[in-house]
Symmetry: C2
């Protein structure tokens, strides 16, 4: 496995491979890799000649009061996990390499960026769209892999790629969960034992919502209050619980077509998200 | 010469050429080509295997009260002028092709976009940056050619390409003028005979500024009031007359290093710009 820190060097290397006809699969990450990331890397390695994983804790997608400084980092561990899953190349630039002095350009995907996580994390998706566009321009991937856990992120990136006429195909892969149902996340390491237990209500409430919908309940208000009730019982603070169209992220009153139930909470100091896509 | 209207079709064609090792020079225009554009096309044809000219009057760079609807268009004439200058391919999409329903993504080059023309034309450079990024993603040019007449545009594009790690080299070519000094512009056709004469004050005042600087005057205020005085005498309405650093577009007090003297005026209903770059 080769590790690149410099944009010019990885560009030069990958362009040579591409000119020789090699296809490139790309998994952009913020590191501290878990089985969710590994499932993306495995899929990329299956579908492409060369698999590139980027590890970059992107400062422009963190708000001033968020956990940028303490976001977990462990490059040695990441190297092992990436290699294990089939990665050939790690791209691990530092902040100065990605945002040199005088940096000025940002990408905004309007509407999709202002709701759900974008409402409470102002500028978050602007940072995400910008860094992903930069990474795509560096790597020129044929396919890039994103987790369904960040449902809104996947939608924002898909929209950007379509709007800006980029050549990369976006592949969205299922949420990987712990055995007890908690969605895998680098932030799970922040949780105390008690918080870890209370966090189970996220996936439980989504499964309960699914049950209710399968039983024929179509009123989004009823579904939403069931979820809210379950979460509040666990003393978990709700950021949002939203039932929206899975394509437009606009709120729906009736469960119909392809819908996304998405939630974000704070368990202690840790922000967790989870979601489910249902079709009816 | 081949004319493409569809993004997918020109992409497919150009990718084949690129895979076969052909280099691509690109001249993005809003059509109504004049000798300024032709000088860019000629340069592109000299330096690349294939020269692509886009003709697209980009709605997102016009303000609501600007001249989008009446902007001059003449594709047949443009085809002849482009071919004459050495173009191989014209890309001429319609609005729906470039901004289909549900379009949401915009690129902002901060700071550089808010001054000079960006101060009076809100959102103009957001539209410019966005459409140029789209065109670059469609064409994948090795080199793209812009006129120095739109000095701020050239700077905004250069910054975007650098920030977003795009592979295209930006080549900025000198202003082409009429024999009497008026900078060539598609908008010159709007001018009445009398307005055409009064417009000469733009280039004259810039030449006068250059003289004064060559005589050793370094106080930007003095230079600026000389220009303003000359323009006002011609009954021409000033939007701005600015003396700024040619790299940062920040105002300077003293003529030192590489400076840009840029001006925008209204002659009757027609907005005209001109500029000069000086080094001291």
């Amino acid at each position: 496995m080769i590790i690149f820190n410099k944009i010019d060097e990885i560009k030069l290397y990958l362009r040579k491979q591409q000119n020789a006809g090699q296809t490139i699969g790309f998994v952009p990450t913020m590191g501290y890799l878990h089985e969710g990331h590994q499932s993306l890397i495995r899929k990329a390695a299956e579908e492409n000649d060369i698999t590139v994983v980027s590890i970059f804790v992107n400062p422009t997608q963190f708000g001033p009061s968020e956990d940028l400084a303490k976001y977990p980092r462990d490059l040695k561990r990441d190297e092992i996990k990436a290699k294990e899953a089939g990665a050939h190349i790690i791209f691990h630039p530092d902040d100065k390499e990605m945002y040199p002095e005088g940096y000025k350009t940002y990408i905004e995907v309007e509407e999709l960026s202002d709701v759900l996580c974008g409402a409470s994390r102002k500028g978050h998706f602007k940072g995400v769209a910008t860094v992903v566009a930069k990474l795509f321009n560096i790597v020129h991937p044929d396919k890039a892999y994103f987790g369904q856990k960040d449902a809104q992120q996947a939608l924002v990136i898909k929209q950007m790629v379509k709007d800006l006429n980029m050549d990369t195909e976006i592949v969205v892969c299922p949420i990987i969960r712990e055995e007890d149902g908690l969605a895998k996340s680098s932030r799970n390491v922040y949780l105390s034992e008690d918080e870890r237990k209370r966090s189970l209500v996220l996936s439980k409430s989504l499964r309960r919502a699914q049950e209710l919908i399968e039983q024929g309940i179509t009123d989004a208000k009823i579904i939403r209050s069931e979820i809210v009730g379950m979460i509040e019982k666990e003393n978990v603070i709700i950021d949002y619980v939203e039932i929206v169209s899975a394509d437009t992220l606009k709120q729906v009153d009736k469960i119909e077509g392809k819908i996304l139930i998405a939630l974000a909470v704070k368990v202690g100091n840790t922000r967790l998200i989870d979601n489910i896509i249902l079709e009816r």
